[in-house]
Symmetry: C2
Subunit: 395 residues, 2 copies
């Protein structure tokens, strides 16, 4: 278990760059089985859950450890989160000002969630009684759609729409964004997208949330930190790039030639290939079905282009096993459901916040700081500090 | 170097809990040599730098790699950071609202820095030209004292005081806090405290900053995340606890009996003991000198109590080698310089932000994501998803 902290560089433990494959902690929340082509939340296949259950069920599963099995159990949980979507007036008021900088991007959500954590006076995780900790974690994930929608509407000169606790979490998000009567097919499609992206292994934002939580910080600090990691180009932000690919191709008949040319220029095909899945990405398989059910020009186009790109990649890069990943259909599904491209990454955050908060709860129970080391590779210390020549003529 | 991501739990790499001693990265920024009782920024002893140089010199050393050796070099750097202390009007205006929640604590600073990063429209680190990246990093550390002071004054019903770019970084901070003519002895004492706490090994907040930076996120996201880690009880926040110890003791004649009773109750003596230093903490040695030079009742009291506690601990816990750590004198020095206890951790952040930004710059140059793994220890997946009984009478 614990070891003493080494003093000398040669006592450091060497591991692969970027901590690749290094087990930081135990988890009961889930995992990715890349070779077997599936990922799971607790002991259930995530795609099975997305097909048969609600986002709130998955939320409850991750946070509390059990799926509801009766309507009463489900209702108890949804009754808990509904009211937490309503943020205090002073936070709502401040959101208009926050929206002035960068609109509805992740930066605004980061500031708004930070303010909400302040307004709620969230105590450090370790000083929180279990019920208070649970409430803060539910609050952060529950209020995320409210804040995104308010930022979005303010940045378009529109008044925010109050949450409706009688609606499902995603249905309410779409309601707050658009103010139109809720399209239940769209709400279910976006809900399934969110269910598929609640968690996925020990990704960089989840890890960030756990590092911050391991210091005993408040839940808000941990979520705000994770959101910062999500803003990196290596992590969030790709669904819109896959749509840009479809736009660049323009029509199915051009797809094969376009991909061929891109590969010859050694360009990466956005939305294809994954570090862990060697075959199909289970998320993209389900999202393709969802896109197919939704229908529409974009979905039809994306499905025919996917087939052409997959065949072309198989011909030109047979060794690479490149298939559509979650990003390829995420943008297609969101766009078909009327979500603006600027909202793709914030919408990803709606689901992922649920995963972060479950990870924060698990980490907080551990009460052990994550505090690694670095290897100093500069000139040997201590060297004498050079004097400062105060003669104003010296250069 | 890079390895493939393992799919199966048994391919994971096991390391000590909390990544203790695990070398995540190389660094040229510095290190702690606990057994030898010193720590260094680049190749120079940090205490040597604190004795002979300015905070701005250390800042330049960490960020740019070199100490200024002429007045012209120093002036060039201070001319760069002075104007960056002034924040945009809309951020200043918003700070009054932010201060309403939790006053001048770290939560308010987290929100205000997040808003500043938005207002400055900080691009992802990897999309930033070097000059823009450098400017954003300088900005975040330069504006931290401005934001803390404005939050503090707003939360006390006072108008903020504008920064004065002709003053040193810490002198300006004290000026913005108090509005009284600057006490140069106090400014130098707090500056030396800040210099001693700019960086210290690969602590949890610095690691957080580097994880977020490794995703290519913007500099603001990385600093905001690090600030969240600092809010944890395991990391920031201890200087005020050491002052509480002094208050609990009340007078030197009670110190020996007080410590004896606390040890018998198996309580930890706040401000004593360190995970890495087995002998004196080099920071507390210099801070004791600084406290001695400042003088005053609190400093005199703290010095006599320290001697008694050290002797009592040596008698009762001879195996533990417990000496005053950086926290013990940090509070004494700050309080003697007129800094309110609520501002101790934010003041710690004034110096530490400089360390974080240097670490972010180093990490951004690496362009490789820090993305470890976790070991799934729950029931084997995939289990069939239980059905939901929608009969409202079921429980």
């Amino acid at each position: 278990m614990a070891t003493t902290t080494p003093d000398e560089p040669d006592q450091l433990i060497d591991v692969p760059a970027g901590l690749r494959g290094v087990a930081v902690t135990d988890t009961r929340l889930g995992d990715v089985r890349g070779a077997q082509g599936f990922f799971h939340y607790r002991q259930y296949s995530a795609t099975d859950l997305a097909r048969t259950r609600s986002l709130e069920d998955v939320w409850q599963l991750l946070l509390d450890g059990e799926l509801p099995t009766t309507a009463a159990e489900r209702d108890r949980f949804t009754a808990e989160i509904g009211p937490l979507r309503t943020v205090p007036d002073e936070v709502s008021d401040a959101v208009a000002g926050i929206a002035r900088h960068g609109g509805a991007g992740l930066g605004g959500l980061r500031t708004a969630l930070s303010l909400l954590a302040q307004a709620d006076d969230m105590p450090p995780l370790w000083d929180s009684p279990p019920q208070r900790r649970r409430r803060d974690l539910l609050r952060l994930a529950a209020a995320t759609p409210t804040l995104i929608a308010a930022l979005w509407r303010h940045s378009h000169g529109l008044e925010p729409i109050a949450p409706d606790p009688t609606l499902g979490h995603i249905a309410d998000y779409l309601h707050m964004l658009g103010g139109t009567p809720t399209d239940t097919r769209a709400a279910r499609a976006v809900e399934q997208y969110a269910m598929l992206t609640v968690d996925h292994g020990f990704n960089a934002s989840t890890f960030t949330a756990r590092v911050v939580a391991s210091t005993g910080a408040d839940a808000g600090s941990a979520v705000v930190a994770a959101l910062g990691a999500l803003s990196g180009p290596l992590h969030g932000g790709a669904p819109s790039r896959a749509l840009q690919l479809l736009e660049a191709i323009g029509e199915p008949s051009r797809a094969a030639a376009w991909v061929r040319a891109a590969i010859e220029r050694n360009e990466r095909i956005m939305g294809f290939g994954h570090a862990v899945y060697r075959g199909d990405d289970p998320r993209s398989l389900l999202l393709r079905h969802i896109a197919q059910d939704l229908g529409g020009d974009l979905a039809d186009f994306a499905i025919s282009v996917e087939a052409i790109i997959t065949a072309t990649l198989a011909e030109l890069r047979p060794d690479r096993h490149l298939y559509a990943n979650v990003e390829y259909y995420a943008g297609v599904v969101m766009a078909t459901c009327g979500i603006d491209r600027q909202l793709f990454t914030p919408t990803f955050a709606v689901g992922r916040t649920i995963g972060w908060t479950a990870n924060i709860a698990e980490q907080a129970a551990d009460r052990r700081i994550i505090r690694p080391a670095a290897r100093y590779t500069g000139p040997p210390p201590p060297q004498p500090v050079p004097e400062l020549n105060l003669d104003p003529e010296a250069r």
